[in-house]
Symmetry: C2
DNA sequence: CGGAATCCCTTACGATACTG
DNA sequence: CAGTATCGTAAGGGATTCCG
């Protein structure tokens, strides 16, 4: 279980770690996926239009596309309700919830980052 | 310090959290930034060409651009060495290292995700 | 060696209109 | 209401060349 080396410099473990990071990055790629997940994590089950309102600025094309990709990856479920006119609910799957640690760390960092920026601006005055 | 409400539905705290997540996402946007940070976190100080070799496939244009953006955001330092021909070293700043928890969670999730995919393929056979 | 400049192409994304 | 279809643009990104 020691560190396996490739061409004397980079360990396999290290490379696999980089690959894992890259996988995650790819799945969360796109302009809105992270925010969609964060919204569903914060607010729970949400309808199409509610998501569109929460994600101010997103159009129907992008919202549909990103939701589909998230569903394909097993991160959210799509449920069509028996109403008229129809309504559709989206919800994080249990697997989708497993992304929560990443989102949480991003929230933490983003918050402190904004604080840092504000401090820097204050110093310049 | 209770939960402040906006239009009776979304709390300010919740909205600020979403904004923080979005900030982080923006700073880590781009095809290579996360990987650059991960590489510098794993391998420490690295030269331009070494990075290019580690990030198999990246071209000089993208590498330069993403490095500059990371530098502007205070996440990495760029040091020109007195050699001939010149060499340049890139390194994570202390602030850059503060992104480590995010990267770590991404590595963790990506690893388990790959495991899950492999399991699913195995079941189908 | 590090990187800027150029060219070119694809994709991502947005706005709008339309449908069950 | 929840999308799909279509169109158009801007940006992202790759390959190559050139320069200090």
């Amino acid at each position: 279980m020691g560190t396996k080396l490739v061409d004397g410099s980079i360990s396999v473990d290290c490379w696999e770690r980089l690959r894992a990071i890259n996988d995650t990055k790819d799945i969360l790629s796109g302009k809105w996926k992270v925010m969609i997940i964060a919204c569903l994590a914060s607010f729970g089950k949400k309808r199409y239009m509610e998501l569109q309102r929460l994600l101010a600025g997103i159009g129907t094309k992008m919202l549909s596309k990103e939701l589909q990709e998230l569903e394909i990856n097993g991160l959210i479920t799509r449920t069509v309700m028996n109403t008229k006119p129809i309504t559709v609910e989206y919800e994080l799957t249990r697997y989708g919830h497993s992304l929560k640690p990443i989102i949480d760390e991003m929230a933490l960092w983003g918050k402190s980052h904004r604080g840092k920026i504000i401090d820097e601006i204050a110093k310049k005055e």
